[in-house]
Amino acid sequence: MLKTLQQILKTGIVTEAPPAPADELRVRKALESRIREVLGRALCIREVDAGSCNGCELEIHALGNPIYSIESLGIRFVASPRHADLLLVTGPVTRHMEVALRRTYDATPDPKLVVAVGDCGACGGIFGSGYASCGAVSNVIPVDVVVPGCPPSPTRILAGILAAISKPAP
């Protein structure tokens, strides 16, 4: 126990300042301010892997580490779409996940936001679309923000999430 406390004290606070919202990643017109007020700065995210190679998941995981510390921004990951305000979806959407993704979207209460993460979520990436892949997330459910990258860095993903819930810069 003593060692644990010593390690906590020695580590100190390592959290860095969050990035500015990446307005350029918005693909749908600016959200109505009422939605931003409802969702505000206490955002619940349900992550859905709809077919990714798991690379994007590694970087989404990193958002929880003490350096990005997404929870200190009032944003947390929840275990059910019924508790979520925002779906963070990685792709490409496989045909075998198409129904599960639609159902997850339907189970998320309105108003809701969708952020597609990674080149595959953006456009199908290197996997493209075919007999087993529907390609981009937007081919299956409506998408508000797209964060390309393979995988995108945690900073970019966070900037995309913040863009989804922030007022666009004038």
Binding site: K3, D49, L58, A62, N65, P92, H96, S133
Partner: protein
């Protein structure tokens, strides 16, 4: 002058073409010698009989075995009684190629509803233009009796993990049976390979399972370089090993934190995820990417290591050593953690040997196979990797093994940084002749990653089959949870940390 690795570097691969009736005898001989079936795939082309290909290892021998299907049929002898993990691989061969094993379990495995049961994405006949089939009804095995009920989990899980379905049969909190159903992230990777130039396939290979991108890209390139007789510069192979060990360390750090968290010790996640972030940043500084998915290319590596980057990595390794030592002491002394880890999800030695458990989970259950030692390619033949094993096969053994391997990988990284030969980091690769065949074998952090590659005409890919170690270890998870309580499943599952994407292809 640049030193180069010989074209046939690594364990010599013996190629065997046999009759289908010989397959079962050969499989039994391999198993009797303590060997492992590492990969199995099929080809089914117009005007040819179907052909099965298998990669097996009985150290120090590596075998590439090929045999046609029986005359006039699309059937081949099943070997699930010899190699239990073959069962799902055989079912996948049917789903994708239309070649059927003689074993009894003929349920679809990778095919759900994306294509009908009489269409085969990799077979001679083209897929129907509208592949959607409405029915997705999978015959789970039912457990019946007083008080038995089922818990269905997935495919969308509660955490940030990949999708899959788990069907538990339980009494109270105790698990009587777990049946996995995978295939949700089947993206059609093997068909996609055939649309790419063979000199470009490494990019897709690196994304078969993103957490093992270096291993897959290297395994693919190794197969390509074997078939073209390419002598990779020695410096390039050292850079590849550096990347592979950094990948191993990053994944072990992530898992050690997550395992602490799953046992209710959030401190562990905070500390290890912080160390992992430092490592990823040092990796990006040194080699250009946090995850080195694009580093390994045919003929070598895409970038070289600058002296400043090397110094940064070495400093990171020193810091890691100090911090991990402290954290390991805390994990070791934490009675709550040990209570959750010890005895949970045990796969004992005999069961592990029978199932054919490989890689990290295998070594935690006394199965020594490590391709870095048993089929060492350059530079592992010079690095003298210390093989780590544990005997108890429980969560604690898999945690301890991760600590041991992390320490060893840090040693290897520091050795590489000190002793890396000079020279070029890449050489041009010629396009292989049509029909050339190559195999790659790399020990990823999770276990052996195998790539079977066959060249088509004009620099195309006729067939590429990547095999993830998870194929062998997913069946073991079903055994590991029997008799444990449901709330321990996430912990046990995490201690294996198997790939869905690498398995579902």
């Amino acid at each position: 002058m640049t030193r180069a690795t010989p074209p046939q570097a690594g364990a010599a691969i013996s190629q065997l073409v046999i009759d289908p009736v010989e397959w079962r005898d050969l499989a039994q001989d391999i198993a009797a010698a303590g060997g492992r079936l590492l990969a199995l795939w099929g080809t089914n082309r117009v005007g040819q009989c179907g052909t099965l290909h298998a990669v097996a290892i009985a150290p120090p021998h590596v075998l590439l075995i090929s045999f046609p299907t029986a005359d006039g049929t699309r059937h081949f002898p099943g070997v699930e009684d010899v190699f239990p993990s073959a069962s799902r691989m055989q079912r996948a061969v049917f789903d994708l190629c239309g070649l059927r094993s003689t074993d009894h379990d003929t349920r679809p495995w990778l095919r759900h509803a994306a294509w009908p049961d009489d269409a085969f994405p990799l077979a001679a006949n083209p897929m129907p233009s509208s592949p959607q089939s409405p029915i997705d009804d999978y015959a789970f095995v039912r457990v019946e009796g007083d008080g038995v009920h089922e818990i269905a989990v997935g495919p969308v899980h509660a955490g940030i993990i990949e999708p899959g379905h788990f069907r538990f049969s339980v009494v109270g909190e105790k698990v009587l049976r777990l049946e996995e159903r995978l295939g949700y992230v089947h993206k059609g990777i093997e068909q996609r390979f055939t649309e790419l130039p063979i000199l470009d396939g490494h990019r897709l290979a690196a994304r078969v399972s993103g957490d093992s991108g270096v291993a897959y890209a290297w395994s693919y390139c190794q197969a390509l370089e074997r078939m073209t007789g390419t002598a990779v510069p020695l410096r390039a192979s050292w850079l590849r090993a550096l990347a592979l060990e950094l990948e191993r360390i990053a994944n072990h750090l992530g898992d050690l934190g997550a395992l602490g968290n799953d046992a209710g010790f959030a401190f562990g996640l905070a500390q290890f995820s912080r160390l992992k972030e430092h490592l990823l940043r040092a990796t990006e500084q040194a080699l250009g990417q946090r995850y080195l998915l694009d580093l390994v290319v045919p003929g070598g590596t895409r970038t070289d290591l600058a002296p400043a980057g090397a110094a940064g990595l070495d400093e990171c390794m020193i810091q890691l050593t100090d911090e991990v030592t402290v954290l390991r002491g805390i994990y070791d002394e934490h009675t709550g953690l040990r209570d959750r880890f010890a005895g949970a999800g045990a796969v004992l030695h005999e069961l592990a040997a029978w199932i054919g458990l490989v890689g990290l989970a295998g070594r935690a259950s006394g199965q020594p196979l490590d391709l870095r030692v048993d089929a060492a390619c350059a530079p592992y033949d010079e690095l003298a990797v210390r093989r780590c094993t544990q005997q108890d096969g429980d969560v604690l053994a898999r945690v301890t093994l991760r600590f041991d391997e992390l320490v060893e990988s840090v040693r290897i990284v520091r050795r590489i940084l000190r002793a890396m030969p000079s020279g070029d980091c890449a050489i041009a690769v010629t396009v292989p002749e049509a029909g050339a065949v190559g195999v790659g074998l790399i020990e990823a952090w999770r276990g052996p990653v195998i790539v079977g590659l066959e060249a088509g005409p004009d620099g195309s890919i006729l067939r590429c089959h990547p095999q993830d170690p998870s194929w062998h270890n997913w069946p073991a998870l079903e055994h590991a949870v029997i008799g444990n309580i449901v709330p321990d499943f996430p912990l046990i599952n995490k201690s294996f940390n198997l790939s869905y994407s690498g398995h579902d292809l």
